[in-house]
């Protein structure tokens, strides 16, 4: 590329953000078999803006630590298979600017 921007990959972008992650996840895939058998696209792995969801062989890995708490996965999961709550008070993403 042109050297215009760094932070081109999602990993690099996520390094720009401060997270105060809880020890427990606030995101839960309700039924991993649903992802396996009923969701060929694993669409959450595509539209999640923080790549929180990663498909690993037979189950969905949820990297909740990097969640932006946007709510897209709760609304966008075609099988309503994600239990979504806010992280505990004070935890989760901390925006400094935006």
């Amino acid at each position: 590329m042109s050297g215009v921007t760094k932070a081109q990959t999602i990993e690099e972008k996520q390094y720009l953000v401060r997270f105060n992650a809880d020890t427990e996840s606030h995101l839960h895939v309700l039924d991993h078999d649903t992802c396996l058998s009923k969701c060929p696209d694993k669409i959450c792995t595509i539209f999640c803006p923080a790549e929180v969801y990663k498909w690993e062989d037979i189950r969905m890995h949820v990297g909740y630590e990097g969640c932006h708490e946007c709510g897209s996965c709760r609304i966008g999961c075609p099988h309503e298979n994600i239990k979504w709550v806010y992280p505990k008070g004070g935890h989760g993403i901390v925006f400094r600017l935006g």
Partner: protein, 431 residues
């Protein structure tokens, strides 16, 4: 915490803070609950704050508030792969008091704004999630938080908990929003020297501009890109309906990179350094998606009530106005000693009678329409650019011949008819 408050406001964004500010100023005992480390730490906005509605809360706030730049120029770019047709308005009247709008960085602004509410006497509690509303005999009487023994009681609870209003949903005010009722936006803050920004965007010091970018910024999906100038940074972002992102299987951060590296956009951000990456949902369902906004002992304001005008990128102003009306209604309820929906419905009436309700009504079918007919973004914007290119390329062809070429480019008679119908339809949904 056994103390009973006049009002509990859940969420310290523009809606919640406005509401708490107004009530505290009138002497009510108000608690403002924020789940983040500080107000603004969970909030994302492209970055345009409108002066009028903010000034309705705090007159001359711009003399003190942490703002970036007053906006003097607004550009609308119809973007194709290698071209752009731009419409722009620049008005130096906007460079002077009382200004029209400002670019802001929300984490800074919201902290300042919340401080002002605290100065009026509101009690701000950070780092606290409200888990549910406490309902008794069909009336909301308080909230349960994630603090130990964290029940708080009040005559009224105002829900300002944003686009993911789990509280309004749990009260049955609305069902889960559909993917075509919310837009997923990602953005980055790019650090860039003040002087370079001013040179590059033709600005004097303390002047700002905004770009709204249509067409290829979203690869033809319904949505927009944006580029705003801050003091010594730029905010660049892109948002499309979540349904569009799902349909086209686009990764939001890759779309953002696409915009940043677009040959028409890239020169504007050249040499900048990304310093923050953000993602958020915008409630864009509009009028048809508005939930119930009041019931016994409870009001819903701001994003939680879907108060966004996607066509005019307005939201924070509607949030503030709704917060103000909610505050006025709570005051009225206290005066009457009646916190039932009979009195609280005053809020809904005020809201729907104001520019908020009127504008939502005006554009009630717009998002849905442009979502249903993707040709506006996919076909007509490239067509417009081709026509402009034809007309402005001087190559010895006569202008009549050029017009003929443009006319032929519009397609068969049937396609032209379809286009004419689309134009009429578009006019109808925004009229």
């Amino acid at each position: 915490m056994s103390e009973k408050f006049d009002c509990i406001v859940v969420g310290a964004g523009p809606a919640g803070i406005s509401c708490a500010y107004e009530m505290a100023k009138s002497g009510l005992n108000v608690v403002l609950i924020e789940r983040g480390e500080y107000p603004g730490s969970k909030n994302v906005m492209g970055g345009v704050l409108y002066r009028k509605m903010m000034e309705d809360i705090i007159p001359e706030f711009y003399k003190e508030a942490p703002l970036e730049r007053p906006v003097v120029e607004q550009r609308f770019m119809m973007l194709d792969k290698q071209s752009a047709s731009t419409f722009s308005y620049k008005g130096l009247e906007w460079a002077e008091e009382p200004y029209n709008n400002f670019t802001v960085l929300r984490a800074k602004f919201d902290q300042w704004f919340a401080d002002q509410a605290v100065k009026q006497g509101a009690l701000l509690i950070n780092e606290t999630v409200v888990l549910e509303c406490i309902v008794e005999n069909g009336k909301v009487i308080g909230v349960k938080t994630d603090r130990e023994a964290g029940e708080i009681f009040a005559d009224v609870v105002v829900l300002a908990d944003g686009v993911n209003s789990l509280l309004a949903k749990s009260l049955g005010f609305h069902k889960e929003f559909r993917p075509d009722e919310v837009a997923l936006a990602t953005m980055e803050i790019l650090k860039l020297d003040k002087k370079i920004i001013e040179d590059r965007f033709n600005l004097e010091p303390n002047q700002g501009c905004t770009f709204e970018i249509f067409g290829d910024a979203t690869k033809g999906i319904l949505g927009t890109g944006f580029l705003y100038t801050n003091k010594d940074s730029l905010s660049i972002g892109v948002g499309t309906l979540l349904s569009g992102m799902i349909k086209k299987k686009i990764k939001p951060y890759e779309l953002l990179e696409y915009v940043k590296n677009h040959p028409i956009i890239r020169p504007y951000i050249q040499g900048s350094e990304p310093i923050e990456y953000l993602a958020h949902l915008i409630p864009e369902g509009g009028y048809h998606s508005m939930p119930k906004v009041c019931d016994n002992g409870v009001l819903v304001i701001g994003d939680a009530a879907q108060l966004v005008n996607a066509i005019h990128r307005e939201g924070s102003n509607m949030a503030m106005t709704s917060g103000k009306y909610a505050a006025e209604t709570v005051l009225l309820a206290k005066e009457r000693g009646d916190y039932s929906v009979r009195t609280l419905d005053t809020y809904r009436m005020k809201l729907m009678g104001s520019f908020v309700g009127q504008d939502l009504k005006k554009y009630k079918d717009a998002t849905h329409h442009f979502d249903k007919y993707p040709q506006y973004f996919e076909q007509y914007i490239p067509m417009l650019n081709r026509a402009a290119s034809q007309m402005f390329t001087v190559d010895g062809t006569s202008k009549w011949d050029k017009q003929k070429k443009i006319w032929n480019d519009l397609g068969s008679n049937r396609e032209k008819l379809k286009m004419a119908r689309d134009i009429l339809r578009a006019m109808k949904v925004v009229k």
